[in-house]
């Protein structure tokens, strides 16, 4: 009666992984699947080294000279990195390693090859010769002291995490290595990636969540953060373009201080740009190469780019409220359609995600109540057995015990079912996060377009001024020395601006290209991921329902003597 292990079901691998919410991967031969799992031992990946570079424009290989990495402003409205991404940790408390680690489900093997395992796909096969892997893990949080900045001795501690990488990608010199990083380093990495990979769907980093760190127990918070970091890094490692980025490599491999330009505060940035600032603000005489036209290929940030921000803001207002059509419009109807679809998708997805949470809660409650019912009957049984005077009591106690143990069993099954359900349905939450990344990428595109539009307006503006001056100057006999000089200056400005415009256009086109490629990738991944989720969910539900049915069927059989004879 007790051992489910005895039932002759075919085994699916239910791989218990503590606290990890790995995506369910369809075990398909042909297609590449990039769930979050970077199991180094598996994945006959369609995407190999060669494919990647063919498919996507590697940012480092673009024609655009890559300017030095700019400083960022965390409050930059154009780079919103905060994510209202639903806290996946609301599910963490429900996750437990299944007690039936080798739980068996009835075989669904009518479709061999399509059989859904637990996560991790074919976890036992060894890597083929040409498969690439990049696996990251985050462990071992340690408290350390910031010796430099502490005015108070013993103050200003922070936590570092051990980041271990296993890979066979050539650009990493080595197959296994570790570094220690703190959360601030992750923020830096995230910011640098956003700068370098405009137009890409870059996974969002975990929240800074200051409030939570106050509310939670320190240990809980650190563990939550560790998990968040691991998930984030794995997502980065799963992205076919980002995983090859220099920023990520540096983060994962370079010992000691993270050699990426990090966020600096406004004051020091002001100091940095102080020399250039007045010229920026007055804008007119930017003949000098103080402003690199290539700067326009980066989003306007605070500080140095104040003027640029003002201008672009003016332009966007003109776009929205002005009568004249902006010089370049988002004409790609296909893109606009896709964007609308994405918004609808997001809304429905969010709704489903909510209902999924309710479903999980209802399942949990059911399991709990069944357990309590079982316990109550166990107590009753014990009571009757102890006090039994009549045989009828003993019989009743035996019946009751049967029901009680079955209820407790069913309760356990519900708990396991739920843990699995959470894993599967968590895909929904994940995609809500993905959509945020998509929106960021679309913002990149809008911003780039705005830059182009702004520059075009400027050019038009400059042009008309030159024409006016030329007209006025021609009326004066012998020329107007000051006016002529002015015209010369303006023409020079126009030349620089024109160069900048060309850069901006190139950047815009590049971002558009990235958007498109990423959308394709996303569509494919989404297709695979959701099918995997659906199938996993369904198989899970069916499997556990069958187990419960068998538990109750045996009780029904054993009590069939009491069945109502008539009616």
């Amino acid at each position: 009666m007790m051992g489910f292990e005895n039932q002759g079901f075919e085994e699916a691998q239910l791989h218990a992984s503590h606290g990890e919410m790995e995506s369910l991967v369809l075990d398909d031969d042909d297609n590449n699947n990039s769930g979050n799992d970077n199991n180094p031992s598996s994945r006959s990946n369609g995407i190999t080294n060669g494919d990647v570079s063919q498919h996507y424009n590697h940012p480092l290989s673009s024609s655009l000279p890559f300017a030095e990495i700019l400083t960022t402003d965390d409050d930059d409205p154009l780079l919103s990195s905060s994510s209202p991404h639903q806290n996946p940790n609301s599910f963490n408390s429900l996750l437990e390693p299944p007690s039936y680690a080798d739980a068996s489900f009835r075989s669904f093997d009518g479709d061999h090859g399509k059989q859904i395992n637990g996560h991790g796909a074919v976890s036992t096969s060894s890597p083929t010769a040409d498969s690439v892997y990049l696996k990251v893990s985050v462990t071992d949080p340690q408290k350390e002291q910031d010796l430099n900045n502490s005015l108070v001795p013993g103050g200003n501690t922070f936590v570092t995490y051990l980041i271990t990488t296993w890979t066979n990608l050539p650009e990493f010199n080595g197959t296994e290595f570790s570094v220690r990083r703190r959360f601030r380093d992750v923020v830096t990495l995230s910011d640098r990636l956003s700068d370098s990979y405009r137009g890409y769907f870059i996974p969002l980093r975990p929240d800074k969540s200051v409030v939570e760190s106050q509310v939670m127990q320190k240990q809980e918070f650190v563990e939550q953060r560790r998990m968040g970091l691991e998930k984030y890094l794995r997502k980065l490692a799963a992205h076919p373009v980002i995983r090859r980025s220099e920023e990520l490599r540096v983060f994962l491999q370079v010992q000691g201080k993270l050699p990426l330009m990090k966020t600096t505060d406004v004051a020091s940035r002001m100091l940095d740009g102080a020399v250039k600032l007045p010229k920026q603000l007055f804008g007119e005489s930017v003949v000098s190469a103080a402003v690199d036209p290539n700067d326009v290929s980066h989003p306007a940030k605070g500080g140095r780019d104040l003027l640029r921000i003002f201008k672009e803001l003016r332009q966007s207002v003109a776009n929205d409220w002005g009568g004249a059509k902006p010089p370049v419009v988002e004409e790609d109807k296909e893109f606009l359609d896709k964007k609308k679809k994405m918004q609808d998708f997001e809304q429905e997805l969010s709704n489903v995600s909510q209902q999924a949470e309710s479903l999980v809660k209802a399942q949990q409650d059911m399991g709990e109540t069944l357990g309590q019912l079982g316990l109550a009957f166990v107590k009753l049984t014990k009571f009757e057995m102890e006090e039994a005077i009549f045989n009828s009591q003993k019989v009743r106690a035996a019946d009751m015990k049967n029901v009680a143990t079955s209820a407790v069993k069913a309760s356990r099954l519900y708990r396991e079912l739920n843990a699995q359900t959470v894993r599967h349905l968590d895909k929904l939450h994940e995609y809500l996060g993905v959509i945020l990344a998509v929106n960021n990428a679309y913002s990149d595109r809008s911003n780039a377009l705005l830059t182009v539009q702004t520059l075009l307006s400027e050019l038009a503006n400059l042009n008309s001024r030159i024409e006016k001056l030329e007209a006025a100057a021609s009326k004066i006999f012998g020329g107007d020395r000051s006016r002529v000089r002015k015209i010369e200056e303006l023409k020079e400005t126009m030349r620089v601006t024109d160069e900048a415009k060309n850069c901006a256009v190139r950047e815009y086109e590049r971002i558009k290209e990235n958007n498109m490629n990423e959308l394709e990738r996303l569509d494919k991944e989404r297709h695979d991921d959701f099918f995997g989720m659906l199938k996993g969910f369904v198989v899970n539900q069916a499997g556990y329902a069958e187990k419960m049915a068998s538990v109750w069927e045996s009780v029904a059989n054993e009590t069939s003597g009491y069945a109502a004879k008539n009616s």
Binding site: A376, S392, V395, D399
Partner: protein
């Protein structure tokens, strides 16, 4: 005429030759109907009797009764048949909102049917004249009887619970020895009393969880419905194969929601209700325990009084007082009362001993049936869930590759 084979108590045959059939009395309570308006509104029930008992007017009779009529019957039986565990009544519902909810009425109707049937199958109770009146009298007679006895007994349905509570405290007091120690010193009986009290706690707890379980089924059903709806909307957004997959899943989810609601109802009627009935039965026994205690007290008090009277009488005899004759009279009367009280008490004790056996057997049957229905329902539900989800797998597979 060929002799018919003996039928069970449930047989519904026309008694053409009653002498050749075993006697039966079969009752059913059905067809609840709302009567009246507003505050005065109440539910009436159709009570159908089929019998070959000679005392009854005929082979079949249908009358209309309301809840308070059932209460009347219970009270009469409780008074007359001390020692017997009168089958329990469903509670009077005091919450206005649910008074006429379909579910409540269905549960009550089932409980009333069980109530009358148990009386009709009890070898002593089925002989009761009050039962006969209940099953046969026209409505006016019934109403008269009801209001009359309400006056005499001063009992209203809402008082019933209060009486139970009083009895409970009284019995508890007696058991705890708070009152004067006029109680039986019978270790077996003490054990029984303790058993009954503890049993009530256990069964009440089980019933509480059963009630929650019904709720959980409803909640899970609701969330499956919501989930299914949301997934279908998502599918509409997606389109193509994935959209179709979502749509299929959503439909299945909604279908299962419906099954869960059905199972919730089945659980309510066939698992929770029997447990509630169990609790009521135990409480009814507590009432009988109180009656026994009171009868015992009476017997003791009378015995005391008789003793004193005897002493008095002897005194008077010696003195040759003219009061002696009166005193003798009183003494004889008291002795008769004393014998009566003793007889009553002994009857209660005897009946209780029989009843406890019957009670345990009945409960084993009732709970066995309840467990069976519970397990059957859960198995049925689980199989439906498994089938529904399993049927999706080939569809998902084919959609995936398309």
């Amino acid at each position: 005429m060929q002799p018919r084979s003996p039928s069970t108590g449930e047989g519904l045959q026309s008694p053409r030759s009653p002498s050749l059939q075993s006697p039966f009395l079969s009752v059913s309570v059905t067809d609840p109907a709302k009567m009246g308006n507003g505050v005065q509104a109440y539910i009436s029930y159709k009570v159908t009797t089929k019998t070959n008992f000679p005392e009854y007017q005929g082979p079949e009779k249908i009358v209309i009764r309301r809840y308070t009529d059932f209460v009347w019957l219970y009270d009469r039986l409780f008074e007359k048949y001390k020692g017997i565990f009168i089958p329990p009544l469903p509670e009077k519902n005091t919450v206005e909102k649910f008074r006429f909810s379909a579910e409540f009425i269905e549960m009550r109707c089932q409980a009333l049917d069980t109530f009358v049937n148990r009386i009709a199958s009890h070898h002593e109770l089925q002989q009761s004249e009050d039962l006969r009146n209940f099953l046969q009298a026209d409505e006016q007679t019934m109403e008269r009887a009801r209001s009359q006895d309400t006056g005499i007994f001063k009992k209203k349905p809402s008082d019933l619970m209060q009486i139970f509570r009083d009895v409970q405290t009284k019995v508890t007091d007696v058991v705890l020895g708070k009152e004067k120690p006029v109680e039986e010193s019978n270790p077996e009986y003490d054990k029984l009393k303790r058993y009954i009290f503890e049993l009530e706690d256990h069964v009440t707890e089980a019933q509480k969880h059963a009630y929650h379980l019904v709720k959980r089924h409803r909640e899970l059903g609701q969330s499956l419905a919501d989930f299914g709806k949301a997934i279908k909307l998502l599918g509409a957004c997606e389109g193509d194969a994935l959209g179709a997959a979502f749509s299929e899943l959503g439909t299945k989810s909604e279908m299962l929601s419906f099954k869960l609601q059905k199972e919730a109802h089945h659980l309510l009627m066939n698992f929770e209700e029997p447990l509630k009935d169990y609790v009521r039965a135990v409480q009814s026994i507590k009432g009988t325990i109180a009656e026994r205690a009171s009868a015992f007290r009476q017997q003791c008090e009378l015995a005391e009084t008789i003793k004193l009277k005897e002493i008095d009488l002897n005194k008077l005899r010696i003195l040759r007082s003219e009061k002696m004759l009166d005193a003798e009279h009183e003494y004889e009367e008291l002795k008769a009362d004393g014998e009566e009280a003793t007889r009553r008490f002994d009857t209660i004790v005897r009946l209780m001993n029989e009843e406890i056996v019957r009670f345990q057997e009945e409960k084993t049957q009732d709970m066995g049936r309840a467990f069976h229905e519970f397990a059957k329902g859960q198995a049925r539900l689980a199989n439906a869930i498994a089938d529904a989800w399993r049927s999706l797998v080939p569809k998902l597979n084919s959609l995936y590759v398309s």
